[in-house]
Amino acid sequence: MAMAALRREGRRFAAPLISPQPIRSSLIAEEQAPLGVRSISTQVVRNRMKSVKNIQKITKAMKMVAASKLRAIQTRAENSRGLWQPFTALLGDAPSVDVKKNVIVTISSDKGLCGGINSTSVKISKAMHKLTAGPEKETKYVILGEKAKAQLIRDSKKDIELSITELQKNPLNYTQVSVLADDILKNVEYDALRIIFNKFHSVVSFLPTMSTVLSPEVVEREAESGGKLGDLDSYEIEGGETKGEILQNLAEFQFSCVLFNAVLENACSEQGARMSAMDSSSRNAGEMLDRLTLTYNRTRQASITTELIEIISGASALEG
């Protein structure tokens, strides 16, 4: 019982010591120690140090895992860029096209601890929503990933059309994304699809990007106004298909390819962001550990000094 009381006393007085007041802490130790307390307990600081060290190990391990996953997926993402580049060369990318029905496809991750990439995607989606809003215009969301869903549910609930999760359970492949694209095309009416994702430029830089895919009717309409799409008529069509049919096939395939590339790039960005988030987390844990070690040593030395003082004053009281 006495020991428990002693420990409790020690804890109460050790707590103010942990606050970062380097000069005052040793004075506090000697002033506030009441009679009967042997030494100030360093248990609290030691527990904290142990947990911070564990956290540092875990975040370091997560960084390594993210680095290896990034390596695996990065080559695939870079190779998939070749899928949509011919489409952009043929049909152009027209972000400023003015249409009645916009569908914003927001790509985010399912898991957290990846820095700010999901928040930037959601921010851009909301900005896009505001930009494309207007009389007689309708903008809907299709959400890939849990994190964007959680953020968009809060204020745009009525505009959500579809939400898709558990995309990365198996390694990403084209078949999966194309089935997903098919689902989206079948369930959502659109004039223009705007896909928002984080493009992977390097391990430290992921920029939010938007790709636009137009429906075949809109392509026809834009073709009349000239520009890149107007040159479509100069192409010769082989086989028994009409231009309208080819445009429809192309639009569907373009969406599937662009979505595939977007999903891969977002996955890369997610791993890269997780790497840097875990890296800064381990560094912060290291700094915290340094500060805690200093406090621990100071507390320890203060308690030793107190004991010595007691012993010496006791001994001198006996002599004198």
């Binding site: 609930k157 009525k158 579809l162 898709i164 089935v179 028994g240 569907e252």
Partner: protein
């Protein structure tokens, strides 16, 4: 052909170009020889959970697509060729 535009049979059956190309890719993958075949078939696994939102609420009956290969789609294409 009865219709004005010569619509290909798969378009008339309600398939999109994406489904059509996936079926063709599946057929090509099944033509590969053994070590490459299993490797290629791992690239056909599809899994995601989709839920449609109605009136600001996700529908409980979410369609979870877990088909591991597109074998089921082959029956659709076979019945069309028989009609022609």
């Amino acid at each position: 052909m009865a219709s004005n535009a010569a619509v290909p049979f798969w378009r008339a059956a309600g398939m999109t170009y994406i489904t059509y190309s996936n079926i063709c890719a599946n057929l090509v993958r099944n033509c590969l020889k053994e070590p490459y075949k299993t490797e290629a078939l791992t690239r056909e696994k599809v899994h995601f959970a989709v839920s449609k939102w109605v009136d600001s609420k996700p529908q409980k009956s979410s369609m979870i697509r877990i088909f591991l290969d597109l074998g089921f789609l082959r029956c659709a294409i076979r019945s069309d060729t028989e009609e022609e």
